[in-house]
Symmetry: none
Subunit: 125 residues, 4 copies
DNA sequence: GTGGTCTAGACCACT
DNA sequence: GTGGTCTAGACCACT
């Protein structure tokens, strides 16, 4: 499910965070699901434990998972925190749209791009 | 027209670039218009000359202005370059939309936010 | 009287301990009262017997109940032990207040919050 | 200004975070002040760079500092985020007060402890 | 010089 | 077995 690009400028821990979010959007991970343990992730992705730990910590801060020492990490979406993040994200969305508009993006293109994100059950393999 | 935030993490030269783009979207600046000279800008914004110079250089690289030594800088949109920037921007747009979708943004909200960017003729002064 | 949150990061046995203390503050349980037997608790709360046993053990260590094999468990507040716990708790209180002060809590708010804890006889059922 | 306890159960990065907050309460650090660089901190405290980096990241997440690669880290209190943290903290405050009340703390003691936190300009040396 | 990332490896407490 | 912390050391991009 996770596939890292070690040549990317995006930090590895961030890629893990991003792909976990995508897995939730696409329904691969749901509320209450157990995440792979940090060590399992280390073996799967062939990265350092610190890197996975950082990704998991980040996910916890974002209100996406809950990590319990001795037990494991679970998907636990903090709806309140996510709602707050959504509000804060508006500003970034506006900035991105200002740039998009400057570059000539039309509403129709925006709609198509948005609709093509995630939910791509048909191209699962 | 320009209003800088010196406490922001966004570099000053970048703020000048961004606000120039916005001025174009909103119609304050049009193809062929003369930009304020670097020195005028320095006096207006109370920033270092090198900062303004860097912003103008950036705007030239982006295909937005053309600076002619001894004459000044003019809005000269390089349509080809901007088309190329538009394509590169697609990736950022997708990333932003992935995050937006994760946070629960619906298409209707996206459309409304996009439509509300720029073109705010009514609040011009 | 007891109501557990199985999704919480707080261990179940700890929730039982906490709610027993609250029952004492609020006067639902008094010195000498008989606690439900471990088995009754298991049936009431639908948790594992070992979890209830651990909670009861904890309560005994804290000087709150006394368990007599073959007879049951009784509220038996060990004043000396509780006084000792009170002293140890000072450190936690200071830490909490440092954070509260950083976040901008004023004395008046602290007083109001403290006064509103427990003794909520009006919302008993 | 910073003094670490390496025998404490509180992680070192957390101690750095806590002491930075205290420095702000006590007025040693103010909005806009430059923090020691990560490497200066490493030399001052004799800990690993990762540990200091983690503390600084944590402070950034908390809306207390802003770190700019190549420039440094500055105190930049995010009033909105801190207000949000204050609201969330209410729950913890209530839990602490329930325990305090159980242990026999009286309002007068609570007030005295709260008033003695920070602002101890008189015992500076 | 600045902060940021990552690895290898060790040790800890708790379940 | 679980997550959490820390060190030593290296390398990166950006100012």
């Amino acid at each position: 499910m996770y596939s890292l690009d070690f040549t990317s400028k995006i930090p590895i821990y961030q890629q893990i965070v991003d792909q976990t979010k995508m897995a939730i959007i696409d329904g691969y991970l749901k509320q209450g699901d157990k995440m792979p343990s940090v060590r399992e992730m280390v073996n799967m992705l062939l990265v350092n434990q610190s890197t996975v730990s950082r990704a998991y910590r980040e996910l916890e801060v974002l209100g996406i998972i809950s990590s319990v020492p001795g037990k494991g990490s679970y998907i636990l979406l903090d709806e309140e925190k996510i709602k707050w993040e959504k509000e804060k994200f508006l500003e970034k969305l506006e900035e991105t749209f200002r740039e998009a508009k400057f570059l000539g993006y039309e509403l129709a293109e925006i709609i198509e791009i948005f609709n093509n994100i995630g939910g791509q059950d048909d191209i699962k393999d």
